[in-house]
C-alpha cells in the first residue's frame, strides 16, 4: 500500500509539472497579444529552426546560428525587443516542428517550411508569408547519363526526408510518369546524404535549394548534378500559432519590411541617414513618418531596427545563399521590379 501511495504521489507531482509546463503560449482573440507580452517578459524570441541546413538555418562551430530563416527570427527580435541577438533557437526535426509550435515551445517557426492548404487550415497554424520560393528537384550522379527526369526507369530508388511535402510530391511525380520506384525516407537530412553517397539510392530528391546545400556535404560534390526539372511549388516561409493575430502581424510585417526595404534601396548602412528622405515610403520604413508601429503595440523605430541590425532581404540573401555558393542566381526570389516574384503589400 505504501509503495502504491508513493507511486501516486509521484504520478500526481509529474502531472502537475506537465500541466504547468503546458501553460505557456496560446493566444486570445483580443487586441492584446499574449505571445508579445510573454516574449517581452522573457527577454528573447523563441524561434524554431532546422537541425542544420546551410543558407537557411545552420549553426557554426561556436553555436552561432545564421541563414535567411534565422534572419526572420532576428528581425522579429529586433522589432520587439530592440536587439536582433535576443533569440533562443530550438533546432527541430521535420516531425517535431508543428507540435513544438502549437504546444508553445516556440513562438515562431522559421524552418524552410512549405506553405500548404492543409497545414495552414487544419492543424492550428498560420503561415505569414514566403521568404524563399523553392521547388522540388532531383540530384543524380553525373556519370549515370541521366539528363532529365524522362530518363528515369522502373525500379529506381529515391532517397528523401520523411514527413515532408517532398515525400508526397515524389509519389505524385512518379505516379504521373507511371514509374515504379523505391522510396527510402530518412528522418534526418545527414543520413539521406550518407545513404545517397554510399550508392543506396539512384537519386536524391528534395527542394532544389536543399539539394544545392546538401551537395556540398557529399564526398565528391562535383560527381553529382541537379536535374533541370522542377516538379513542385515549394513556397517556404515562417509560421506562427493560430489565434494570436497581433503576433501574426508582427512576424508578417517583420519579413515584409526586409523585402520592402530592398525594393526602396534601404539597407543596413544607409537606413538611419534616410530619415529625411524625400520619398514618404522610405520615411515610413525608417520610422520618420506615420505611426505604423503603434498598430501592434511597438514603438515607431521597429522597422528601422530590423533594417539596421538584420539588413534588407537582398543583403540577407547575398550573405547566406549567394556568397556561400548555394544558389548564386536569385531566380524567382528576385524582386518583382527585377523579374522575380517577390512582391509584398505596402507598409502604410
Amino acid at each position: 500500500m505504501i509503495k502504491s501511495i508513493k507511486t501516486w504521489i509521484l504520478v500526481g507531482f509529474t502531472s502537475l509539472l506537465l500541466v504547468a509546463c503546458g501553460q505557456g503560449g496560446g493566444g486570445s482573440g483580443s487586441k492584446k497579444s499574449k505571445t508579445l507580452d510573454n516574449t517581452k517578459k522573457a527577454g528573447f524570441v523563441k524561434c524554431g529552426v532546422s537541425q542544420g541546413l546551410p543558407g537557411f538555418s545552420n549553426a557554426d562551430a561556436s553555436g552561432n546560428w545564421s541563414g535567411i530563416d534565422v534572419d526572420v527570427c532576428r528581425a522579429v527580435a529586433a522589432a520587439v525587443l530592440g536587439d536582433a541577438d535576443k533569440v533562443k533557437y530550438t533546432p527541430l526535426s521535420a516531425a517535431e516542428r508543428f507540435t513544438a509550435l502549437t504546444s508553445g515551445e516556440i513562438d515562431v517557426l522559421a524552418r524552410n517550411t512549405t506553405w500548404t492548404l492543409s497545414r495552414d487550415a487544419d492543424i492550428g497554424l498560420t503561415f505569414v508569408g514566403v521568404n524563399f520560393y523553392d521547388g522540388q528537384g532531383f540530384m543524380v550522379r553525373k556519370n549515370s547519363g541521366i539528363n532529365s527526369v524522362n530518363d528515369f526507369k522502373d525500379g529506381i530508388s529515391a532517397c528523401t526526408n520523411t514527413g515532408t511535402t517532398t515525400e508526397l510530391n515524389m509519389r505524385d511525380f512518379f505516379n504521373s510518369k507511371n514509374i515504379k520506384y523505391e522510396p527510402i525516407a530518412f528522418e534526418k537530412a545527414d543520413e539521406v546524404v550518407q545513404a545517397y553517397d554510399a550508392g543506396r539510392c539512384d537519386t536524391y530528391t528534395t527542394d532544389k535549394s536543399g539539394l544545392a546545400a546538401q551537395r556540398t556535404k557529399l564526398s565528391a560534390p562535383n560527381d553529382h548534378k541537379v536535374l533541370p526539372e522542377t516538379i513542385s511549388k515549394e513556397p517556404l516561409g515562417p509560421v506562427v500559432r493560430q489565434g494570436d493575430s497581433v503576433w501574426e502581424d508582427i512576424v508578417r510585417w517583420s519579413l515584409n519590411t526586409m523585402i520592402e526595404a530592398e525594393e526602396y534601396g534601404v539597407n543596413s548602412s544607409n537606413a538611419s541617414s534616410l530619415k529625411d528622405s524625400d520619398n514618404p515610403a522610405i520615411k515610413r520604413l525608417v520610422g520618420a513618418e506615420g505611426e505604423l508601429g503603434a498598430a501592434f503595440g511597438l514603438d515607431n523605430d521597429w522597422s528601422l531596427r530590423i533594417i539596421e541590425q538584420v539588413g534588407n532581404y537582398g543583403e540577407s540573401y547575398k550573405k547566406h545563399i549567394a556568397d556561400t555558393g548555394i544558389l548564386p542566381n536569385r531566380g524567382p526570389n528576385e524582386l518583382w521590379t527585377k523579374g522575380g516574384i517577390l512582391y509584398v503589400p505596402p507598409a502604410r
Binding site: G22, F98, G124, S144, Y181, G199, D202
Partner: protein, 391 residues
C-alpha cells in the same frame, strides 16, 4: 449484522476506502488532463478525432508485407508499420536466441579460445550503445557491399548488393492446401509425441521421436505436392540497367538493407544479454544434479536434455522475457536508418502529414503496450509450464 457490514468498523470496508480514494484520485487526474488538453487544443484551433485514419495516406512505403501504396488509408499505413515492427522483432528474437544460447554455452566451454572469444563478444557488444551499432551495420557495412552489377552472387539465384538482398520469389499454386498439410503434419507430430511419452512411461520403450517427427514434417507436405496439385516455382531476380552506370534487380524479392542492418544490430546486441542469462542458468544447476543423473546411467545428451536444461530454463526464462521486450521496443530506433517500422511510418510520417500528434502518439503507445503485454503473457505461460510443479 447488515449494519455492521456497512460501518467503518468492518475491516473489509476499512480496507476498501484507501483503494477507492486512489482510484478516485487517478480518475480526477486523467479527467483533469483530458479537459486541459481539450481546452488548450480548442484555443489553438486544433480538432481532435480519429477520422483521419480513413483518409488517403498519399505517401509510399518502400517495404511492406501487405499491399500498400499512397492510395490506401492512414489506417492501412499503420498496419504496414505494425507488421514491419513485428517482422523485425520476430527475426531479431529468433536470431538473438540462437546466438545467445551458442555464446552462453561457449562461455562455459573448457576450450580457452572459445570461452575467451565468447567473453570478448559479450563485453564488446553489450557495452556499445545500440543506436551506434545500428549505424555501424547500416552505414559501415553497407558501404562495403558492392553495387548491383558486381553483386555477391549465390549460385545465380540470389544476389547481395548495396541496394538489398535479392532472393527468388516463390510462386505458389494451391498454397492453401500446402498450409493445411503443414498444420496436419504438426498435429500428427503432437500426437506422436504424446504416444511416445506414454510408451516411455508405461512400458519403458524409447521411440526415435525426433527422426519420426522429421519424417512426418517432410512426407505430409511432400504428398500434397505429389497428389493434391500443389506446386511451387521461382521467379529469379534478373539484373536490369537503370542508366549508364546504375543497375537494379527485378522479378525477385528484395530484402532491403535497412531490415538486414536493423535485425543484425538488434540480435547481436540482445544476444549478449541472453548469453549471460544462459550462462547463469546453466551454472545455477547444482553439480550434484548432473552427478546423480550420471549415476543412474543417463548419457551426456540425456543429462543435458532431461536434467540440466529443465532446471536451467527456470532461471533463464524470466530475464530473457525482459530481453525480448527490450528488443521489440528497441526496434523503434528503426527510424534512424529508414526502416519503415511503426514509429517511422505512423508516429513520424503520418503524424507530420496529418498533424494529429495526440491521437497518433496515443495509438502508437497503446500498440507497443499491447505488443509487449502479448509477449509477456506468452513467456509467462511458458515459464509456468517450466516451473517446478509442487505436489
Amino acid at each position: 449484522m447488515n449494519l455492521k457490514k456497512l460501518s467503518i468498523e468492518n475491516k473489509k470496508i476499512r480496507d476498501l476506502i484507501p483503494q477507492a480514494l486512489t482510484i478516485l484520485a487517478l480518475l480526477s487526474v486523467i479527467i483533469y488532463f483530458a479537459t486541459n488538453a481539450q481546452i488548450n487544443m480548442g484555443n489553438r484551433g486544433i480538432s481532435f478525432g480519429f477520422g483521419f485514419l480513413s483518409q488517403e495516406a498519399s505517401f509510399d512505403i518502400a517495404f511492406s508485407l501487405i499491399e500498400f501504396d499512397g492510395s490506401y488509408s492512414y489506417g492501412r499505413a499503420f498496419l504496414v508499420g505494425l507488421l514491419n515492427t513485428i517482422l523485425v522483432s520476430i527475426i531479431g528474437i529468433f536470431l538473438a536466441t540462437i546466438l545467445g544460447v551458442i555464446v552462453g554455452v561457449a562461455r562455459l566451454s573448457n576450450n580457452y579460445l572459445i570461452a575467451k572469444t565468447a567473453e570478448w563478444y559479450v563485453e564488446i557488444f553489450r557495452n556499445i550503445p545500440l543506436i551506434l551499432q545500428i549505424f555501424f551495420w547500416y552505414f559501415a557495412a553497407l558501404r562495403a557491399l558492392p553495387s548491383p552489377e558486381n553483386a555477391i552472387n549465390f549460385y545465380d539465384v540470389s544476389y547481395l548488393t548495396i541496394k538489398g538482398w535479392y532472393i527468388p520469389k516463390f510462386v505458389w499454386i494451391n498454397f492453401d492446401i500446402f498450409c493445411y498439410s503443414l498444420i496436419l503434419a504438426f498435429i500428427s507430430i503432437y500426437f506422436l509425441n504424446r504416444y511416445a511419452k506414454k510408451q516411455r512411461e508405461e512400458f519403458g520403450k524409447i521411440l526415435p521421436t525426433f527422426t519420426l517427427s522429421l519424417g512426418i514434417l517432410i512426407s505430409i507436405p511432400l504428398l500434397s505436392f505429389l497428389l493434391l496439385g500443389v506446386s511451387l516455382s521461382f521467379d529469379y531476380p534478373e539484373l536490369k540497367q537503370l542508366s549508364e552506370t546504375s543497375y537494379t534487380y527485378e522479378n525477385g524479392v528484395s530484402i532491403i538493407p535497412e531490415l538486414i542492418a536493423l535485425a543484425l544490430a538488434l540480435s547481436m546486441y540482445t544476444a549478449t544479454f541472453i548469453a549471460e542469462n544462459v550462462r547463469a542458468g546453466v551454472m545455477g544447476v547444482g553439480k550434484g544434479q548432473k552427478e546423480a543423473a550420471a549415476s543412474i546411467g543417463l548419457n551426456k545428451g540425456q543429462i543435458l536434455k532431461l536434467v540440466v536444461m529443465p532446471q536451467a530454463l527456470r532461471i533463464i526464462i524470466p530475464p530473457t522475457t525482459n530481453q525480448y521486450l527490450n528488443l521489440t521496443k528497441n526496434s523503434s530506433l528503426a527510424a534512424a536508418i529508414a526502416y519503415p517500422d511503426m514509429v517511422l511510418v505512423f508516429a513520424k510520417t503520418a503524424l507530420m502529414q496529418t498533424g494529429r500528434a495526440i491521437e497518433i502518439i496515443s495509438i502508437t503507445m497503446l500498440t507497443y503496450l499491447s505488443l509487449s503485454i502479448s509477449i509477456s503473457i506468452l513467456m509467462n505461460w511458458y515459464n509456468k509450464k517450466m516451473a517446478i510443479k509442487e505436489k
